[in-house]
Symmetry: C2
Amino acid sequence: MIALPAQVTVREVGLRDGLQSIATVLPTADKCQWVRDAHAAGMREIEVGSFVPPTLVPQLADTEAVLASAKRLPGLFASVLVPNLRGAERGLDCGADLLLLPLSASRAHSLANLRRTPDEVLAELSRIRAARDSAGSKTLLECGIGTAFGCTLQGEVTAVEVLRLLQAALDAGADRVSLADTVGFADPAAVTRLFEAALRIAGNRFWCGHFHDTRGLALANVHAALQLGVQRFDASLAGIGGCPQAPGASGNVATEDLVYMLESMGCKTGIDPAALLVLRGRVTRWLGGEATYGALWRAGLPRTFRRVLAGSGP
Amino acid sequence: MIALPAQVTVREVGLRDGLQSIATVLPTADKCQWVRDAHAAGMREIEVGSFVPPTLVPQLADTEAVLASAKRLPGLFASVLVPNLRGAERGLDCGADLLLLPLSASRAHSLANLRRTPDEVLAELSRIRAARDSAGSKTLLECGIGTAFGCTLQGEVTAVEVLRLLQAALDAGADRVSLADTVGFADPAAVTRLFEAALRIAGNRFWCGHFHDTRGLALANVHAALQLGVQRFDASLAGIGGCPQAPGASGNVATEDLVYMLESMGCKTGIDPAALLVLRGRVTRWLGGEATYGALWRAGLPRTFRRVLAGSGP
């Protein structure tokens, strides 16, 4: 029997990866309440938005305000996505705890999403690292290798290319690297193969698994990664989201389902899934008729469910 | 890395476990077409109905006709559920390839579902075995231990009790034993623990894993069982179904999602998921507004998907 991690961090990315695909612009006050309620439910890592041009993603134009609000919550580690040096400079100025730079292993997706090749993104990562260091900032730099299991635009993405970019991202100055199945092409066997190789390269600089649930396999994929010792996963409340450049992609694994699975398995998250279900109800009401996903909300927690006590805290 | 089974059998149970919870009575001709189309897609094991009193489950009153039709398909192994000796006698008369006797490990569920205690069901199993043997029939007897991970009525069901019943079912004459998460309380870690113990007891007389997707964990649970070498899983097209005595339970793992996951992982099923998606569309049209589940149908197969060739056939 394989030992599973005793503690697992679930990072909420619904406010960024989720909302960026949603037309209904959520008011800043609602976003701040979402962050506060998630924190109250026990979440300690939240991606609060992204510093992209507001004309491109009006939904995320208030990231600075949401980040400022999040920074007032005790123990909350707040991250933002940045597409380039300009966004990174804003993130550093605002004191984000972590900047996530996405790097598509698919050249076609990279060009469509960032209008840069993967290697041009690596060059930008070097500039961001230099800016972070010269600012004397403690902000962490994460490079998330996306479309790591294939791409709706390009088709196949080889493991050799994904691992080359992962190594190159570390060499270019990323403090942490992550792997993302942006469009839901992964399966548990592919996760085992790619994550095992990635962990050999990155060691404890490996940060996070990011699985979209497009074809229903996200939790099985998490299970495969957990068995390799991966201790951090992205998730989106109510499974909201998609990918603007990947037609047919649905959202991340639903936060409430993932936390329920982990707590059931004895992996401590510090998060109360019952509180997440209440928050889910609130957020789905805010979002009106937007597409939401996930399964736990229909049946609720099993009557035998006992949350693992978090001990000294998350 | 754990070796996964090279070949896995997916048994369609939508015509029984699925339809029994659905009010819309599907005409016999449609059921027979469903069986034919599933066979044409490569499925070789189908649970075609159950021999319960037609007054209790009008939906399944035509099981004899569906079974007769299924028996004409080359290489198809057709099973039926039987709740008692009387049903088993009908199954033997009709030449079913396998009779599935459900046995709820939850005493409360057993009383609600079969109006018998688990030990009374074991006594009936002995009588069914005697009837099979005295008829000189080749029909296999499977005992499916249900509510094996807990029960909506009773709450906790101990592993000790589940394993006692599994051993007792073998002793009472079951050729095969299976474990069912009837109400969606299982998680991958619990599956690993219980299935490992069950496999130690039953060896190659262990038959099938049966997971309801009530809380979205069915595919992750399958992944855990696969890693122990389990090679047969129940599934329900479009995830239809539930449990009449288990409020809030939704259907089995969706056949098309399970086959897609297995084929993606390199576990040969002999089944074409694209053909299943076509069949899913037909069945969901027949069922009108009934609740259906599953994820693959929304996005379709990935453009990189290559089905594992089944070699010498399923």
